[in-house]
Symmetry: C3
Subunit: 261 residues, 3 copies
């Protein structure tokens, strides 16, 4: 028997996939637009209708499925998988106010992606303003995720679909983030933090803490608040009851003393 | 007079559109990348820069607008419309832990889409892990929606933009889901459920129930809680007032009995 | 010294970018699919694998990066930047009920975008049902945003990533909207409104108001409610304490009067 049946299952699916695999097709699909000054490892595969711009680097055995963009000077490591519609290195969202107008801050950094990273369909990772946006080794990102400029995501962190990470937030290693969660900018998310789906994280987190709620609060405190919130109608009834009983009592006391309260 | 004026209006727009329609262009745009082992019905239209992979099937009168990907072995029924940027059949998000690392679970299922389905721009529907992800007849999905692996969406269900449905959740027929709502995995959403925008559904739902709130609760209970929540500052004032009045009363009672409380 | 250092910084990044810029490449990349009846200004640039459909207009000095779709009859003004994966003019989400089925309402309007607009990667702006969806001058939209049919966005308004705006909502000038915020349909958002990230706006807003919370409420009221919500466990303890003290008091009063309460 396998010690870790889920891992054993993963290995079986990989064997099955390899047995089924037909010829891999051309290394660079003829419909892809690859700049002559991009560096594609001879063992990498660039799928149909991808764009790889000047100065970009694609590592060994990395696969870009169809319709992926890797912009100028961005680097993708080895054994990565980028699913259809992924955009690496669009401009970060940066503007300075000039009276009524917004003036563009040119985004002069790039994106650097480590090894063994998988990135889901239509996910976007923006280039940095001055330095780079960084995704470290073994990170797994689901579909439709937004990673803003100058974010750093630590080794083996995973994010479910539609998560949004704002600019300059630093995410540690082995962090897990549920779907549709949102992280404001300039945060430090500690190693091993677990963030529940749809949670809004607005403060730095402690290592291995569990974050949960509309405004993220540590898990235990959230459960206490949540428990009371669910009983608010009961609480209100109690207070109304208290008021009536007190009024009666006060009236009684006033009457005994021969005066109106 | 029309019995159902909105439906009458829909029919008029269709007439207008048909009257305006110029020649439809080529059946398969020359810029599209269609695998020789894909099956395209002769009455289907494949727009510019689409990708249809090996073993995929596109049904009669279905239209893929520009830049759509339909991956290996995925099936799209008849009279469907897939808008630009749609990704059908990217890998579901599945990994097993191997010590510090995440090991990929190959996604061996596909996506099956029924007839008369419309799918909005940049929406993603992932392939299943072992069996297929299924979208039944008449389903309408708006833009930027995430449908995870092994989800099933029942006949004539509609979802507004940016909804996220996690893995293996089963959604019934005639369900309506508002924008940005999120459904956790392995749920059963009953026929006719209505889920308000931005609601997080974390429990199975009853047929024709209305779900609403940061954590979804049945509509009436939500309204009761919501009503109290809005009056929390008033509730707190009342309690403070009660405390003062009680303290006075207790002091009075103590004084009468010749002792300090 | 600069009066506005941030603006000064923006200008320096622009100088740097211009100094670095190599030759711009072809005006219309040969891989782009541009309809002969589209109107492209001679100074505009259309990147690799873009689609510009019949009747669309692209203004002077506007840049479409890679893999952008501008659909039939949609208009983009001057000096705009559209990042990879943007979809302008997919059909708005409109259906009329016909018994069990949904009948499509053809979307006969288009999208009109002003000058100096920037639109982030994979963002979608749908065409209007009868009249147009309108984005005015100087608007800046981040990645993965949904703008539904017949929305109007006023001059110099900015939205962070993953915001969703439902149909027919009118957004004023100089509005700022944080990431993942959601606006229901048919709203009027006044000039200068600030909407915090992840906020759900379900009512019209006042000029220069600050909106915040799961259900958006004016900022000050939200802070009051939020403050009490955080102290709910304490409030509940107080009420329980009150009940005990009152019961003792009532019992004492009853005993004095020679009866059980």
């Amino acid at each position: 028997v396998a010690e870790n049946p889920y891992l054993y299952f993963a290995r079986v699916t990989q064997l099955w996939r390899r047995a089924q695999q037909q010829s891999a097709g051309p290394r660079i699909h003829p419909s892809a637009v690859v700049d002559p000054d991009a560096h594609i490892d001879p063992s990498a595969q660039i799928g149909p209708l991808c764009v790889v711009e000047r100065g970009a680097r694609i590592g060994a055995q990395t696969v870009l499925k169809s319709r992926v963009t890797v912009s100028e000077d961005c680097v993708v490591g080895e054994r990565c998988i980028l699913h259809p519609g992924v955009v690496i290195g669009a401009d970060g969202f940066g503007f300075a106010k000039d009276g009524e107008r917004w003036e563009k801050i040119e985004q002069l950094g790039a994106v650097r992606i480590g090894n063994d990273v998988e990135i889901g369909a239509n996910t976007c990772i923006d280039r940095g303003a001055l330095s780079d946006t960084v995704i470290e080794d073994g990170v797994k990102l689901d579909n439709l995720i937004q990673i803003a400029h100058n974010v750093r995501v630590g080794d083996h962190t995973v994010m479910a679909a539609q998560v949004g990470v704002s600019g300059s937030t630093l995410i540690g290693r082995h962090v897990q983030i549920g779907g549709q969660a949102g992280l404001i900018g300039h945060l430090a998310v500690a190693d091993g933090t677990m963030i529940a789906g749809s949670t809004n994280v607005i403060e730095d987190t402690q290592p291995r803490s569990i974050q949960k709620g509309y405004v993220a609060t540590p898990h235990l405190e959230f459960k206490r608040i949540q428990a009371v919130t669910q009983r608010l109608p009961e609480l209100k009834r109690k207070v109304t009851d208290l008021e009536a009983r007190l009024a009666a009592l006060e009236q009684g006391a006033g009457a005994k003393e021969g005066r109106t309260p």
